[in-house]
């Protein structure tokens, strides 16, 4: 689960860890998202300064990659695979079930959960696959989905 409150020092620490070189931008952004869940506007500005890039350059990269959210996610992030192997095992039906169970559409964030599509978790022989707070689960039918979500909520 993502930590809250990214600040200037935390961003600088991450930049230092990778080195303040433009070629590390994707790595730095990924580390920020993994830890804090999203990239705030101030962080984009700061990274431009620290890596000697324009704000537009940084914004362009943030905007390009699916992983780089520019809005804070909810406490829990649920991703459901939408790709072919999971489709063949009912991921469309599972997604419909999840929308109802979580009260969220794909790409939506509510008080409790952010629901996102993902295109392949590499768990195609255990389809359908779901990732909850960074952990991959396989052979997920609606009943198992409800169990996993129940456990997720308990572990807050």
């Amino acid at each position: 689960m993502a930590e809250k409150n990214i600040n200037k020092e935390a961003t600088s620490d991450i930049v230092q860890r990778f080195g303040a070189r433009p070629e590390m931008l994707v790595q730095i952004l990924q580390a920020i998202v993994m830890r804090y869940g999203w990239i705030p506007e101030e962080t984009i500005r700061q990274l431009g300064d620290e890596l000697n890039l324009s704000r537009a350059d940084v914004y362009g990269v943030v905007n390009y990659y699916h992983d780089f959210r520019t809005e804070p996610p909810a406490q829990h992030i649920v991703k459901i695979c939408q790709a072919e192997a999971c489709q063949a095992m009912g991921s469309r039906e599972l997604t419909n079930h999840a929308r109802g169970a979580l009260g969220a559409e794909l790409h939506d964030t509510n008080d409790e959960v952010t629901l996102e599509p993902v295109y392949c978790l590499g768990n195609c022989a255990c389809a359908p696959a779901v990732m909850i707070n960074g952990r991959t689960h396989g052979r997920v039918n609606p009943a198992r989905f409800d169990e996993l979500v129940g456990a997720m909520k308990e572990n807050r």
């Binding site: 070189r21 433009p22 390009y64 699916h66 993902v118 590499g122 768990n123 195609c124 022989a125 689960h137």
Partner: protein
């Protein structure tokens, strides 16, 4: 009392269906019953349908127990499974599990067998022998062996690896790079992941061999972010290799310097295209480059770069150890050696099957896969990921051979095989192909960026029954444009699945969305 070794995989699929919990339950039960065990978290053998698959080593024989849940664990102990005892879930020795024994394990032979994070175990199983042989025989011998093997890029494009390596070796530059493409984004594929989780030190060794052969001192692994467990295993393996003196300066006193940096992707499918991957490794948007120049001449940071897929690199170890000719003896026509086929989707026995080219699709789906998971008839099989054609049930007798697939407008790609049963709505699958292209297009070229969105619209009109014949012609024309004028395979091959649906399942446009 002696200590019994028990193996529970640490691999993503096994963990996704409870392997961590099973490992904990086994440790707890052993403690409670006063049984002395050593728990080893191995890679997966690739019989994914049997995961979590637990093995107990008794007198040097590893007895397998399949589909173990935490609820089974107390019963297993009381049935004496620590001595290899009889139990409903006992499969016998792992070396006799039929799914595994009829394979040609050239590249994946260490997966499942070894503890992926033990340098000692790796060394006991020929680890770093290929690198040492390379040091002894010299770079030319490695380049010759790879050329003789006939190995082609396993990421999907199938370019001869020997030619690529020779080109980089022959290009003068102060700095060269090895870039390992581990951005395995095709649905239905997981062989790179299984190798990295089951034999990460093997991948590291293979990159060092490549670096030695072409004169590169630095390697990068570009790993997709959807594989967090792989990331942690690879990170640890890199540390282990470094601490053991197998990465870094003057490796084992050879005078050869080589190190590897592990980079994460950020959820972009097109970054699996080699030039987009290089852009991303440089910290930029993953936008495809024009070719030429080829990456072998001007790749990462403008330097000569070998860009190879994980499985391609790993295949080189035994090519160096055993000789390129041995590899070339397997396979058919211009498809030499083995491919790690991945059985996925609606299939009873999904998993990884490493087999020589020349096996038929039907053998893989029926003999290994056991047919559909639902028990219904096979309707379509998508081979080669989201850019691969859907083959109808009537084409299952095709042999797995790069050129044979090209002949029917299909491709083998990275060897992913996704099975659909007769409830599949193929018009929706054609629509998804276009939709996925629209979501993932890097936007550089118009046919891909705009064509994919127009494609979704045209297919929607066909499904709605709006001038179906005119729209059919329009869709064919759009496919021609995308195929002929796109910059890379994303736009250029999205028409493959679409056309295959038009050719084999056109009737589904009329019935799409009906209750089935």
């Amino acid at each position: 009392m002696s200590t019994t070794r028990i193996y529970v995989p640490r691999e993503t699929s096994a963990v996704s269906v409870g392997a961590d919990e099973v490992a904990l339950a086994i440790a707890r039960e052993a403690k409670q019953t006063g049984t002395s065990i050593e728990l080893i978290r191995n890679g997966s053998w690739g019989a994914t349908w049997l995961e979590p698959l637990v093995e107990v080593e008794v007198d040097g024989v590893r007895n397998a127990y399949g589909n173990i849940s935490t609820a089974d664990v107390p019963g297993l102990f009381s049935a004496g499974f620590v001595e290899g005892g009889e139990h409903a879930r006992r499969l016998g020795p792992i070396t006799e599990v039929d799914y595994l024994i009829n394979q040609d394990r050239w590249t994946f032979w260490r997966c499942g067998l070894v503890d992926p994070l033990s340098l000692e175990d790796f060394r006991l199983h020929q680890g770093f022998n290929a690198l040492q042989k390379a040091f002894a025989d010299g770079p030319e011998a490695v380049l010759d062996a790879v050329a003789a093997s006939g190995l082609r890029g396993r990421g999907g494009a199938g370019f001869p690896t020997g030619i690529k390596w020779r080109t980089v070796a022959d290009t003068e530059a102060e700095q060269k790079y090895i870039a390992c493409n581990a951005d395995e984004g095709d649905s239905g594929t997981f062989s790179d992941r299984m190798l990295m989780e089951g034999d990460p030190l093997g991948l590291i060794e293979s990159m060092a061999v490549a670096g030695f052969a072409v004169g590169a001192s630095k390697g990068y692994i570009y790993l997709r972010s959807e594989y967090p467990l792989t990331h942690s295993i690879l990170s640890r393996a890199l540390e282990i290799a470094r601490n053991g003196g197998w990465l870094g300066e003057n490796i084992q006193g050879s005078g050869f310097d080589f190190d590897i940096e592990l980079h994460l992707g950020a959820g972009s499918y097109v970054c699996g295209e080699e030039t987009a991957m290089l852009e991303s490794l440089e910290g930029k948007k993953g936008i495809v480059r024009y070719k030429p120049p080829l990456p072998a001449h001007e790749g990462l940071f403008g330097k000569p770069t070998v860009v190879n897929n994980v499985v391609t690199l790993a295949s080189v170890l035994n090519i160096v150890n055993l000789g390129g000719e041995r590899y070339a003896e397997m396979g058919i026509n211009r498809s030499r050696g083995t491919l790690a086929f991945q059985l996925a989707g609606n299939i009873k026995r999904g998993g990884l099957v490493e087999k020589s080219f020349g096996v038929t699709l039907r053998q893989l789906i029926e003999d290994w896969g056991g047919g559909t998971a639902s028990g219904r008839p096979v309707k379509a099989v998508q081979v080669g990921g989201p850019l691969g054609a859907y083959l109808p049930a009537g084409q299952l007798d095709i042999t797995l051979d790069y050129e044979a697939f090209v002949e029917i407008g299909a491709m083998i790609g990275h060897g992913g095989i996704v099975v659909f049963d007769d409830t599949a709505d193929m018009a929706q699958q054609a629509r998804f192909a276009m939709e996925f292209c629209a979501i993932e297009s890097c936007g550089k070229c118009t046919p891909c960026r705009i064509g994919s969105t127009r494609g979704v619209e045209v297919i929607d009109r066909m499904i709605a029954g709006d001038s179906r014949e005119e729209n059919y012609d329009l869709l064919v024309e759009l496919c021609d444009t995308m195929e002929d004028a796109s910059l890379c395979a994303m736009g250029g091959m999205t028409p493959y699945p679409v056309r295959s649906v038009l050719n084999h399942f056109a009737e589904d446009f009329a019935s799409s969305g009906d209750d089935r």
